[in-house]
Amino acid sequence: MVKHYRPPGKKKEGNAAKFVTRSQALKHLQISLPLFRKLCILKGVTPREPKKKFKGTHQTYYHVKDIAFLHHEPLVEIHRAIRVHEKKIKKAEAKKNLERAKRLRERTPKPKIDRIIRQRYPRFVDALGELDDCLTMVHLFAALPASQSKKIDVECVHTCRRLAHEWQAFISRTHKLRKTFVSVKGIYYQADVEGQTITWLTPHSLQQVVTDDIDITTMLNFLQLYEPLLGFVNFRLYHSINLKYPPKTDPRLEAIAADVLYIKIFFPNHADLYALLKSDHVAGSGQVETNQKEAESGVEKSELRLAQLQHQLPSNEQPGALMHLVEEVTGEDEEDQDTRECKRLFKNMKFFLSREVHRESFLFVIPAFGGTVSWEGEGAPFGESDQSISHQIVDRESQGHRFLSREYVQPQWVYDCVNARIILPTENYLVGRTPPPHLSPFINYDEEGAYVPDYAKTIKHLQAAARKEVLPLPGFGKEDLEDPQNLLIGGLIDRAEANEAAQKKQKMKILEQQYHDDLKKELKGDTHTSADSKETSTGAELNGESTRNVQENIDDSSDMGKLMLSRKKRKLLEAMQISNARKQGKTDLLRQRKKKIDEAKS
């Protein structure tokens, strides 16, 4: 039988049966290309790579099952209904029947995404795992200017902003934020929610420009999925900490756009306090200040309680409070070591943001690490003249009036502290100085051959020093030795130290070995030279380039193993070597530049 001949009635086989091209799919689904794209985006259907591209390499292939999956999708029907409806609206408008048009427009069927979200992310963890793109996009759209021509309507921007702030509020209040990085592209945040590491990028708080070279409809399609997704995720997260969603917002703070803070999240044990606050909730900046202060004091109080409980000294609080305490403790136990560490970083520190500092990021980051923050302007919890402020964040050339009780630091200090998880010394970050380089927290310097910038080394030293300091902290007395937490920390430190020592040892060993090798090589070279001298006397000559020989020998030895490999493995090895060489080249370039800079300095 000829290979390509297929008798009538016989089904297709192989790739031709499993895959269809895009145009075939369109024909089968009887929808237009834009709708198909939209469906693909919403349903998460991606093209496939068949082993044999039976219709040519320039085609896009989809799996037959995927297309069937789309075919049964109710969204297709809804979109058909929408199309019919739009025709009706158009007709009504053409007949100047504006009322009908309006009524029809109100009744346009809306596709519902929740089922799709559930389908795509059957578990909550799945949704969290793929939240990166969602968050990045929502944050980007929150910073976009609404424009009629680009089809970005105001409502969409507002929703995005609201969702983003809700998310940030959750992260901030539950101290889930782990890393921040100010890059040229924006500010990266990394949070750890339910074991999932979520990284997202927020653009700098400047107006973004929507250029023409992008297809905004595609992005809006994605947004159509991401908006409800983030909504559901937020709901679930708020639900998990026993809060009502959508959270209550403080209208005054919202009006002055004090971003994250306007979303009030009250932990259950604070709820009564806030209810009380709300009862005498009269507009007035002074009052607000006091309110906030009270709130802060409430927070501090709860912290204090916690500390008391840790010392196992049942407080003199009323029984209701004890109940809260119990709740709190259970909550605390659920938190992992990391969260506790993060929560404590800026504890008992008060920050004040100067007028020129971008507020949004700090209102998110500082509370996330346990600090209190205020700013210049309306609705601020406390003013600049507050004596208890420990740090003022200033982003200008020089600071005119200074309070002696506080330190004036540049914004980068906060981020570096957060990344290093210690309070860094402020002298490098003082106003008017060029701050030290801002390093990415996402790089793993432990990797072999990685380039470690100087400042990373200093930070590491500081971290080590800080850990040693932690040990004799007053909070943990001698009697606290049985405190498991304390022990844990101690153990950690011990382990870290041990690790360091081991590393040092290893390094020493390596160095030693190297030395020995050198010695050996030298010896070898000597033997060669001696052989040379012998041979010259007999008349025959020998190679004098012993050093080169040695070099070659080393190369040879590396080459030797390669000979015995199969071809597949050899190619793999070569590819790996190339990529390693490329990496090495990059770090070498950095080292070279560093050397040059150092030379220029000295």
Binding site: G129, K185, P203, F232, M560
Partner: protein
């Protein structure tokens, strides 16, 4: 009376076709002027002097307008003279009687009856006193026509059938008719849209228009409405009235309420989550360390790179956070990510995150496998051209070398001293010591000859034996080969005090049997070369070129090459290339003691390249370009065919054990055959980038080596275990360098020292090197 008249008028008005002027009589009663005139008309029509004669033509009162007018016109002129005063009277009446129509009495009192009732009567009706009104006499048509023509006013005359008279219409009446025809108000002065004047005075009114009290129903709910509402409510409750109002946007809810049900497996394809974005490194920082910022020259050099090689992102440094500008590509980055997410096929690829070194097989350390040649120990200089072949004497004390400068030299191995030298005239292609330690005979292949040289080593007894061996009886030599023409002639070489075996083709290799009596020579059937050589140097140069070749294309090429004409192909028994190819005359085995030459009694498939003897058994290996054939010489049959899979084999070596052999090829590959295992290579080593010229096994150490045109020689550890279940262990040990390339050739030959783990290499750079451990 009045009512009747009114009825008449009404009738007239209703049926305008009945009488032409009848419309004049119509219209509203209230308006005076016109009404008056019409009554006048009526008055006049009731004039007593109207004739009562009936007219046969106007039988029916419902005559159509045209006929009527015609008839009227005809009657007009008849009664012209008679009705003159009446018409004036009528006008008078019209003028004087203004307001009341009731006063004017109609002349004909017959009432509103069809006039055809009077068709047969001489009268037309009765006047007010009851007297008959006579019909007028009928005029004949001609007269009436003439009168009509004469009378200029005839067009405004109308015949009144009822009163039987002709009426002349006044100017006003004509106008009035015209206006009626135009559907306007008949009277010219009539204003259809008068200003409304509210005659009632509302102010100062003491009493309301209606003083009735508000009815109760205005204050109680409507019973019917109530019923209707109940009806609707019931319908809604029953669901008869659907509310398709758009629902309020329902916000998020607890979508992932319980994750317990999540274990259900989706029935579609496996979902591959999109890879996460690469996390930013230090270079993306707003304030990176200084070394991350490229210099201006580097930035400029990016322009010279290919676009895809160019770095996507160039680090920049800002001294403070307030100076960071908006990132211009934020939208674009996001968009590209979107495109990646929905347009890129997702495939799970395993990423090997392993140390590349771990891919390499675990080999025993090289130190454990010592000794093996490592470094160059001695160089032997003296040859004027590339050293093509070397051979070590069995004791390991002497080394012979042949070069393409036409000399054969013997060296003392340990000192590098050149002991002896022969000038053989032609380039030496191969050289081989007799493997027996007491017979110091050297076989040298020079062009078409194989020389057997006495090296004059050893004591006198040995020398004598050698001389005996090398003595040939010139008379018997040619007869030995029996009935066929000798392929090889054993001759005495006086110059070098040895034997000369003249072959018919260039001999490339000479190989001794382990017992030192037999040796084989290989003449690779390089047809082109041979033909060419034959024609140039052959004994039949003056004759017509007679060639018998298997391949026609070869002969054609020969023609082209030499420009000879008229090639005739003969099958000559005496000299035929065909036979040499078919009967494997490419490989010959010579016996030194008997001065005998044997052909290989097998057919060779392919071109012979090398041949070698089995180290212990009577087995003979012939290496052709593609395969190796193993022959049993005693049984004279093929034992095995080894498929190398190489493009062009160049050398072969047999392991001293005899079960393993290696084949080197011109593409730089080396195949290790385990003959017990398979006819396929056990291992293929791709070590050289260029042609392998020779491969050798060490006789006692588990070593083997290959030398190649890339000026390197590889030394391997090749351990063969006596246990058949254990595969041979091959470990690459050393790469020996030192030779330089000349004319694209590197190391031409390599040989191991028979006892020591030393390797001799002969290079195209006129040098021989000894590598020691």
């Amino acid at each position: 009376m009045t009512g009747k008249k009114k009825a008449t008028k009404q009738n007239n008005h209703e049926d305008p076709s009945e009488k032409f002027p009848s419309p004049t009589a119509s219209d509203s009663d209230s308006d005076s002027d016109y009404q008056d005139s019409s009554t006048d008309d009526d008055d006049s029509s009731f004039s007593p002097d109207s004739q009562s004669e009936s007219e046969p033509e106007n039988g029916s009162p419902e005559n159509d307008v045209s006929g009527d007018s015609e008839a009227g016109a005809s009657k007009d002129e008849v009664h012209d003279e008679d009705g003159g005063n009446e018409s004036s009277d009528l006008h008078q009446g019209g003028a004087e009687s203004d307001s009341s129509e009731d006063e004017v009495a109609p002349r004909n009192t017959v009432g509103d009856v069809p006039l055809k009732w009077y068709d047969d009567e001489p009268h037309i009706g009765y006047d007010i006193k009851g007297k008959k009104i006579k019909k007028k006499e009928k005029q004949d048509k001609l007269d009436s026509f003439l009168a009509n023509v004469d009378d200029s006013k005839s067009w405004r005359k109308v015949y009144d059938e009822y009163n039987d008279e002709v009426v002349e219409l006044t100017k006003d009446e004509i106008k009035l008719i015209g206006r009626l025809i135009k559907n306007r108000a008949p009277h010219a002065d009539f204003d259809p849209y008068p200003d409304y004047v509210d005659w009632f005075k509302w102010e100062d009114a003491k009493h309301p228009l209606s003083n009735a009290p508000e009815p109760k129903r205005r204050f109680i709910p409507s019973k019917w409405e109530d019923k209707r509402v109940v009806q609707l409510v019931r319908a809604i409750r029953k669901g008869l009235i659907p509310f398709n109002k758009p629902k309020e946007e329902d916000g998020p809810y607890l979508l992932w309420g319980d994750d317990s049900g999540s274990t259900e497996k989706a029935n579609h394809l496996a979902y591959i989550p999109a890879p996460k974005r690469r996390l930013p490194g230090n270079d993306e920082s707003y304030n990176p360390p200084l070394e991350y910022i490229p210099t201006q020259e580097e930035i400029n050099s990016y322009q010279l790179m290919y676009e895809e090689d160019r770095p996507k992102f160039i680090p920049k440094r800002f001294t403070s956070m307030r100076s960071i500008p908006a990132y211009e590509n934020a939208m674009k980055d996001c968009f590209e990510r979107c495109l990646d997410l929905y347009l890129c096929p997702r495939v799970r690829k395993k990423r090997l995150n392993i140390d590349p070194e771990s891919l390499k097989p675990k080999l025993p350390s090289r130190k454990e496998l010592k000794p093996y040649p490592i470094t160059c120990y001695i160089e032997y200089k003296g040859h004027e051209d590339a050293v093509t072949s070397i051979s070590i004497e069995a004791s390991g004390q002497w080394m012979a070398s042949g070069s393409s400068d036409g000399t054969v030299r013997i060296w003392e191995v340990e000192t590098g001293r050149c002991l002896r030298q022969w000038e053989v005239g032609e380039a030496v292609s191969c050289i081989a010591w007799n493997p027996l330690p007491d017979i110091h005979i050297l076989a040298v292949s020079v062009g078409q000859d194989v020389l057997l040289l006495n090296t004059c080593l050893g004591d006198e007894e040995e020398q004598k034996r050698i001389k005996d061996l090398l003595w040939v009886d010139p008379s018997t030599a040619s007869d030995d080969s029996g009935n066929k023409a000798p392929s090889v002639s054993w001759l005495k070489d006086d110059k070098h005090e040895g034997l000369r075996l003249r072959h018919f083709k260039t001999v490339t290799t000479v190989e001794w049997h382990r017992k030192g009596d037999y040796f084989s020579t290989v003449m690779p059937a390089d047809i082109l070369f041979e033909c060419y050589k034959y024609m140039i140097h052959g004994p039949y140069r003056k004759q017509t070129v007679k060639l018998v070749v298997d391949y026609i294309f070869v002969s054609c090429f020969v023609i082209g090459l030499n420009g000879t004409r008229g090639i005739k192909c003969y099958t000559r028994t005496g000299f035929s290339l065909t036979s040499s190819l078919r009967e494997s005359r490419a490989v010959l085995i010579h016996q030194l003691s008997k001065k005998l030459t044997q052909k290989l009694p097998f057919k060779l498939h392919g071109l012979a390249v090398r041949s070698t003897f089995h180290p212990s058994r009577s087995i003979f290996f012939v290496c052709t370009k593609k395969s190796v054939r193993v022959y049993d010489l005693l049984k004279t049959k093929v034992i095995k065919k080894l498929d190398t899979g190489l493009r062009e084999a160049s050398s072969i070596a047999v392991h001293p054990g005899g079960d393993n052999l290696i084949v080197g090829s011109k593409e730089g590959k080396m195949c290790w055959f385990d003959m017990d295992l398979s006819s396929k290579p056990y291992k293929i080593l791709k070590c050289h980038p260029k042609d392998i010229n020779n491969v050798v096994f060490h006789r006692s150490y588990p070593l083997f080596a290959s030398c190649s045109d890339d000026c390197t020689a590889y030394v391997f550890h090749g351990m063969v275990y006596s246990d058949l279940n254990q595969n041979p262990l091959i470990v690459p040990l050393e790469i020996l360098r030192g030779h330089t390339s000349s004319n694209g050739r590197g190391i031409l030959d390599c040989k191991f020292h028979p006892r020591q783990p030393w390797l001799f290499t002969a290079g195209a750079d006129k040098l021989i090197k000894l590598y020691c451990h």
